[in-house]
């Protein structure tokens, strides 16, 4: 996972698999960003091959928190498997998907 500080946001770039083992690490990084002054968090899923329900839970929890606190939260498009999971989970309409990590959040 890489952490990139942008102008108005922090971008967390995920690679490979996001599952039960890796989810806690992502959770930690997200918590750090949420505790900071940054108001926009982007998860760059471009390189993410696989995500399971554990990873999904971390993403959804972050989404809910950002909604409650009025902060920005978005994801870039992931692999087919990742997108399929979002669809099946019925959350693709809820999550904000952007084209590239630095796009404006509309």
């Amino acid at each position: 996972m890489e952490v990139r500080q942008g102008e108005d946001r922090v971008v967390l770039g995920l690679h490979g698999e996001l599952d039960l083992l890796g989810a806690p690490m992502l959770e930690e990084e997200i918590a750090k960003v949420e505790a900071s002054a940054t108001t926009i968090l982007v998860l760059d899923l471009g390189d993410l091959q696989f995500v399971d329900s554990a990873g999904l839970r971390v993403i959804l929890a972050a989404h809910e928190r950002s909604r409650r606190e009025g902060k920005g939260f978005a994801l870039t498009q992931g692999s087919d498997q990742v997108q399929r999971l979002f669809t099946i989970a019925g959350v693709s309409e809820h999550l904000r998907i952007i084209g590239s990590p630095d796009d404006l959040l509309v």
Binding site: G16, E17, D19, L20, Q49, F50, D52, S53, A54, L56, R57, L60, A61, H63, E64, Q81, R84, T87, I88, A89, G90, V91, E93, H94
Partner: protein, 625 residues
């Protein structure tokens, strides 16, 4: 100045002892440097003095417990040497007694006994046999010097002349003292070396024992291997006893290098098992949690301990010279004991071995406790698992219904998948399958909650959508950060020859409808998963199942099997369904499960659950083959 008026020549007298002394010390230097073995060193020192300086040379060493043991004797007559060694063993010198060796060891000062009368010999003899020995062999003159190194007296070196030999003089004492000083250094080094080796051996033994103890959860097997590790390195016998739930002492392991002797132990174990209330031995150690060391076992002590003659016979034939019993301690106190016995071999157990034995027993105690907890948790997990799955699936007339389940993780991990089939009244059944994200006891709790909430909601007559909302609300009431849950509900209504289905999905993979040619398609519209977001979007979609057609519900462990490298995927699953026409329902489920396991290369990271229903051809209730 004497006046030799007679003209007799005055010869300069060269001290004849001078050259001999130097020669002896030079030899001593070479010999003493050549070995670090204690026994060898002692023997060499003794032999140096005979016959040049003495007819008989004896080295006595002080042991750790203050007794005088470890003797080396050198003499031109080998028999004499052996006899004296045996005498020493039978009648050891009393450290507080009159014997000059004891005196020199106490005072640290050399002693010259220029002429020893019979009376003197008798006065310090250790018994009449000893006196007779000394008189018979003509002990006449002796020098006894202390062996001192690093400011401690290690023992004494005695040089003796027998019979009519020339008595020792004052001048000889210095030489013997010097020799003794060098010998003491060599002996001290040899002892340090052997201590170092023992410590290293103990370390290497402990690390091997730790490896054995950590290697398996089958503690009976592990303890048997520990016993084999101990024998004969540390002791001739090793026995391990463990306290069972009924507070009975169970012998879990016993070993001796000779199988015939093992059989002997078998008789003792079978016929004379100790009970916890007995005063001595293993029961005492287990009750008190303190070690016991018996280094000298008098025969009458054994007789007292034995329950009958046969018991005494068996105990005596073990031939124990020394016994160490150490407690194995668990979290709540002693849980067993390890018994070490030295019998036949040279090395006798002593206090020095207690340290290693206690360390071993502590680790063994921990290992046994862990193994027991592990097995106990496994039993609990298994019981819990039963709460998540129905014991048996109900019969649906005109249809075959089967399920398969594979929990990921070890014995102790309870899965997050659940499924159920409920009769919903009036030819209606409810099939459900769900997945709670997470593992471990908390996830298991949520899984049980999910299954039973859905059951209760169904029984109280709620529609599928209502049931899902109910579960969602129940999950939201859980403490924050709770696990999310996906569910697939299928209501099935039996009519004349077909089944009408209504599918409601909450974040769960859609079920497959497989036709008679093996073509599979998904049914159901995606719905929001439960427990996380505030708003749910749920819908029901209808379908029909005709005779010979199969409905397949599954959890994501199936398509996700093989992860990113060889993932089965929804496509792979649909591909497998092509085999449906040629396989019975159970066989089809098995095929799918097998494929998933293959892709996961035997190590599942997620549970697998499959629930299948096939409408029979009206003429053949049961599997289509």
């Amino acid at each position: 100045m004497p006046n030799s008026s007679q003209g007799e020549p005055v010869e300069a007298v060269v001290d004849p002892g001078g050259d001999v002394a130097t020669g002896l010390l030079i030899d001593a230097g070479a010999v003493l440097a050549s070995s670090l073995e204690l026994a060898t060193t002692m023997g060499q020192v003794a032999r140096l003095t005979v016959p040049g300086l003495a007819d008989l040379c004896v080295i006595d060493l002080l042991a750790e417990d203050g007794s005088i043991r470890d003797v080396a004797v050198a003499c031109s007559g080998v028999d004499l040497a052996h006899e004296l060694e045996e005498l020493r063993a039978a009648y050891p010198l009393d450290p507080q007694g009159e014997h000059p060796v004891a005196g020199v060891i106490r005072d640290g000062e050399p002693v010259l006994l220029a002429e020893m009368s019979r009376g003197l010999l008798s006065s310090f003899a250790q018994g009449s046999e000893h006196a007779r020995f000394m008189i018979e062999h003509g002990y006449s003159s002796a020098v006894v010097a202390p062996l001192k190194a690093r400011e401690r007296t290690l023992g004494a070196l005695s040089t003796l002349r027998l019979g009519d030999g020339e008595p020792y003089r004052e001048e000889d004492v210095e030489l013997v003292v010097e020799l003794a000083r060098r010998a003491a250094l060599a002996i001290d080094n040899a002892r340090l070396f052997s201590q170092l080796r023992r410590t290293q051996e103990a370390e290497s033994f402990m690390s091997e024992a730790s490896r054995v103890l950590a290697s398996s959860m089958d503690y009976a097997d592990t303890l048997q291997r520990v016993a084999r590790l101990v024998v004969p390195r540390i002791a001739d016998w090793c026995a391990i006893d463990v306290l069972d739930e009924q507070k009975r002492i169970e012998r879990v392991a016993v070993h001796h290098s000779d199988p015939a002797r093992l059989e002997l132990a078998g008789h003792l174990d079978r016929d004379y098992r100790p009970t916890l209330d007995e005063p001595l031995g293993v029961p005492e150690v287990i009750r008190t949690g303190s070690s016991r060391v018996y280094t000298d076992i008098p025969p009458d002590a054994l007789a007292e301990y034995a329950r009958d003659n046969r018991h005494l016979e068996l105990l005596s034939s073990i031939g124990a010279k020394a016994v160490i019993i150490v407690p194995m301690i668990g979290a709540a106190g002693p849980i067993g004991a390890i018994t070490l016995v030295s019998a036949e071999s040279e090395h006798t157990l002593s206090e020095a071995d207690l340290g290693v034995a206690e360390r071993l027993a502590r680790r063994a105690g921990t290992a046994v406790e862990h193994a027991r907890l592990y097995t106990e948790r496994g039993r609990i997990a298994h019981t819990l698992q039963q709460a998540l799955l129905p014991e048996a699936l109900p019969e649906i007339p005109g249809a075959d219904i089967r399920a398969r389940y594979c929990a990921a993780g070890e014995l102790n991990e309870v899965g997050g998948d659940f499924y159920d089939v409920l009769y919903h009244g009036a030819e209606r059944w409810m099939l459900m399958i769900g997945d709670v994200c997470g593992k471990g006891p908390r996830a298991a709790g949520v899984t049980a909650l999910a299954r039973h909430t859905l059951r209760a909601a169904a029984i109280s007559g709620q529609t599928s959508t209502q049931m899902l909302h109910t579960l969602h609300r129940a999950l939201r009431l859980q403490p924050p950060g709770a696990d999310l849950c996906t569910v697939c509900l299928v209501t099935l209504e039996r009519t004349a020859e077909r089944a009408r289905l209504k599918v409601a999905l909450a974040g769960h993979p859609p079920p497959l409808l497989i036709d008679v040619d093996g073509h599979a398609r998904t049914i159901g519209r995606p719905g929001t998963l439960l427990g996380v977001l505030d708003e749910l979007e749920l819908a029901e979609e209808g379908a029909e199942l005709r005779p010979g057609e199969t409905l397949l519900l599954y959890t994501d462990g199936i398509p996700e099997a093989g992860r990113s490298h060889a993932q089965l995927g929804e496509d792979g699953l649909i591909e497998l369904c092509k085999q449906a026409p040629s396989l019975g329902l159970d066989a089809l489920l098995e095929r799918i499960e097998h494929e998933a396991l293959q892709r996961a290369s035997g190590s599942l990271r997620d549970d697998l659950a499959l629930l299948g229903l096939r409408v029979c051809d009206h003429a053949l209730p049961g599997d289509n083959i």
